[in-house]
């Protein structure tokens, strides 16, 4: 009895490995499995309908030549046109996009450099006060822009940076997440590499620049993606700090168009599309970067 059941359970066990509950696509279609497959396909369709179709309808409506009726959002554009996009562009979308790109470029560069320096000290050095620094960084996670927004706005005002690029960039440079990610990654880099460089007379900055940073690219990429999304999503901060149309950001333009009721749904969604597309492109890039990072990490052991 035990003799017989062993290979069968082996087989079942093998089936289970593909998915948590052992629900998996069948190799051979029997009536029961066919039913299960049908249920799966229906569930997939529902999921796609809920999570993907709304995003698609945004594109369809934004690029439709025919204006949508009141309250309508299209599943398929009625003729293609960039008219909505051009209208939105003339209403400040271009300026907003430019400003948002400037803010994200400088903000991300500063955020990642500052985080990489801090992570090097935390990951590769043992020093008095390290646990205090870690506690301070943890504390900043509890102080997001929304919670400290008003005094932060007053601080930025005191530094005479209201309605300027530095006022929009500098507050988002310090962020705990990339420091954590990079510290975790840098801890895994073998000490031998660093010692070899040290024997060769390299100082800390040289080791940081020539040994640690080149090996940390996957983690830096991950931080870049998260940082991009974080900066790109900023809303309350620009809302408080920006006063003139010249400094407007993309999120402000999108909500500003909503307030101007004379513009149709197509124009408003066109602006939202411009806000959405860079994040999506970055995310699709992240996926590959993630896999590459994982792969190189496992090869280096």
């Amino acid at each position: 009895m035990a003799h017989q059941s062993a290979p069968r359970s082996e087989q079942r066990g093998h089936g289970v490995t593909t998915s948590a509950l052992g629900l998996r696509l069948p190799r051979r279609l029997t009536a029961r499995r066919g039913g299960r497959l049908a249920v799966r396909v229906v569930l997939y369709a529902i999921v796609a309908g809920i999570f993907v179709v709304p995003l698609w309808s945004m594109f369809a409506t934004a690029f439709s030549a025919d204006a949508p009726k009141l309250g309508e959002v299209m599943l398929w554009p009625r003729g293609l046109s960039t008219g909505n996009m051009r209208t939105a562009w003339n209403l400040g979308l271009g300026q907003g996009l430019l400003n948002s790109l400037i803010i994200v470029a400088f903000g991300l560069l500063l955020q990642i450099s500052v985080s990489a320096f801090a992570a090097y000290a935390l990951a590769r050095k043992r020093f008095r006060g390290a646990s205090f620094v870690l506690l301070a960084i943890l504390a900043t996670m509890m102080m997001p822009e929304e919670v400290i927004g008003i005094p932060l706005y007053l601080v930025v005002g005191r530094m005479h940076m209201l309605d300027t690029y530095p006022g929009l960039i500098l507050p988002i440079v310090g962020w705990a997440l990339p420091i954590y990610v990079l510290t975790g990654f840098m801890k895994q880099i073998p000490l031998e590499l660093e010692e070899a460089a040290r024997v060769d007379g390299a100082g800390d900055f040289r080791i940081f620049r020539s040994v640690i940073i080149p090996l940390s690219w996957p983690a830096l990429g991950t931080c870049a993606v998260f940082g991009f999304l974080m900066i790109w999503d900023q809303y309350l901060l620009p809302l408080l700090i920006v006063h003139s149309p010249k400094m407007t950001t993309l999120t402000l333009v999108v909500t500003g168009l909503q307030a101007s009721q004379e513009q149709g749904e197509g124009v408003r969604l066109a602006a939202a599309v411009v806000l959405m597309v860079p994040s999506i492109l970055i995310y699709l890039g992240l996926q590959r970067l993630f896999e590459r990072g994982l792969l190189s990490g496992s090869l280096k052991g």
Binding site: G13, V16, A20, L21, G22, L23, L25, Y44, V47, A48, F51, V52, P54, L55, S57, L70, G71, E72, V73, V114, S115, F117, L122, K125, F127, V133, A136, T140, M141, M142, M143, P144, E146, V147, I148, G149, P151, L152, L154, V155, V173, G174, D200, G201, A202, D204, S210, L229, W232, D233, L236, L239, L240, L269, A272, L275, S279, I280, Y283, Q287
Partner: protein, 317 residues
């Protein structure tokens, strides 16, 4: 660029080898070694000090004043705090925020868990669907709010309403009625955050030892029993992380509410942070706004510390 590439090659820096020699400057180098980590930490700590800690502390300080631009601040002691504790509008806003945080977090986790179970399989078409389903999580909240504002048009011709109409439901008022506005916002939040939770759950599911399922199957456990006995307990540490992130995220809700309803209709969706914003911008009372912010900060710190402490104790028990 070329220099960068050569320097990233395996580490041999022969030029410097001779100069360091048998360490002539070692004593001095050792003496100042403790400075080096702080030099590397200095930029980050400076940014944190100026843009995180200073505002946090200054916010507490300001909450003791009646802040008046151009007229000078007037010391009022704890008046802003006693006002905060007796303000019925703020109490309503706290109620909305807590309810919203709890429901949206629980809902996102539930939907995210279902999505994870459904989309965990490594097959190619499932992976493509999974990628697509994750898109709401990376889309800026402003764009999400704008999209759903359009889709949830309250009349019969609104996109969602006309779909519901095909099933004989509605038309529903969604954001335009005080009875359904907060629930609608919760649904939008769940739509955006559930895919994020899904990814966390999938990472957790992948980490579960497959032999546990195998032995559960051998013992005759069905899918539901395997879920309860193996999957859910294994996911508990992950669940805690999702819960912390979600609750912190929930308490500071601002963007979606500001864009979708601006706190309306009739204050039915006013949250803590929208109240703070309006107190500052509309009522010009930065002192009172700072008091509310400080209370929110304290609540966030207590909540996070408690969760971390609880988790720490669990892990060590």
């Amino acid at each position: 660029m070329a220099a960068l590439r050569t320097s990233s090659a395996p580490v041999t820096l022969p030029a410097k080898r001779d100069r360091s020699g048998p360490h002539p400057g070692t004593v001095r180098a050792h003496r100042y070694r403790w400075v080096i980590p702080w030099l590397f930490l200095a930029p980050a700590l400076a940014f944190f000090a100026v843009f995180k800690f200073w505002p946090s502390i200054w916010g507490v300080y300001l909450s003791l004043f009646h802040v008046q631009p151009y007229l000078g601040d007037e010391w009022v002691g704890f008046a802003n705090f006693s006002k905060a504790f007796s303000d019925p509008d703020l109490r309503a806003a706290v109620g909305h925020t807590v309810l919203d945080a709890a429901v949206a977090v629980a809902g996102s986790m539930f939907v995210g868990f279902l999505l994870a179970l459904l989309l965990e399989a490594p097959a190619r078409h499932v992976r493509i669907l999974r990628t697509a389903v994750f898109l709401p999580a990376v889309t800026a909240m402003v764009a999400v709010a704008e999209l759903w504002h359009a889709l949830l048009f309250p009349g019969r011709y609104g996109a969602v309403n006309s779909l519901l109409g095909d099933f004989g439901v509605g038309p529903l008022p969604f954001l335009s009625s005080p009875n359904s506005s907060l629930a609608t916002i919760m649904l939008v939040q769940i739509w955006k955050h559930a895919p994020y939770d899904m990814v966390i759950f999938i990472a957790g599911l992948v980490g579960i030892d497959r032999q546990l399922y195998e032995s559960a199957s051998i013992d005759g456990a069905n899918a539901w029993q395997r879920l309860r006995a193996v999957t859910l307990p294994s996911l508990r540490p992950v669940t805690t992380i999702v819960l912390i992130l979600g609750l912190i995220r929930g308490l500071r809700v601002f963007t979606e509410i500001y864009v979708l309803t601006n706190g309306g209709p009739g204050g039915s969706t006013e949250s803590i942070v929208t109240t703070v914003y309006k107190t500052t911008v509309t009522n010009n009372d930065a002192g009172y706004a700072s008091a509310i912010s400080s209370l929110l900060l304290v609540a966030t710190i207590i909540l996070t510390s408690a969760t971390l402490w609880w988790r720490h104790r669990r892990e060590n028990a």
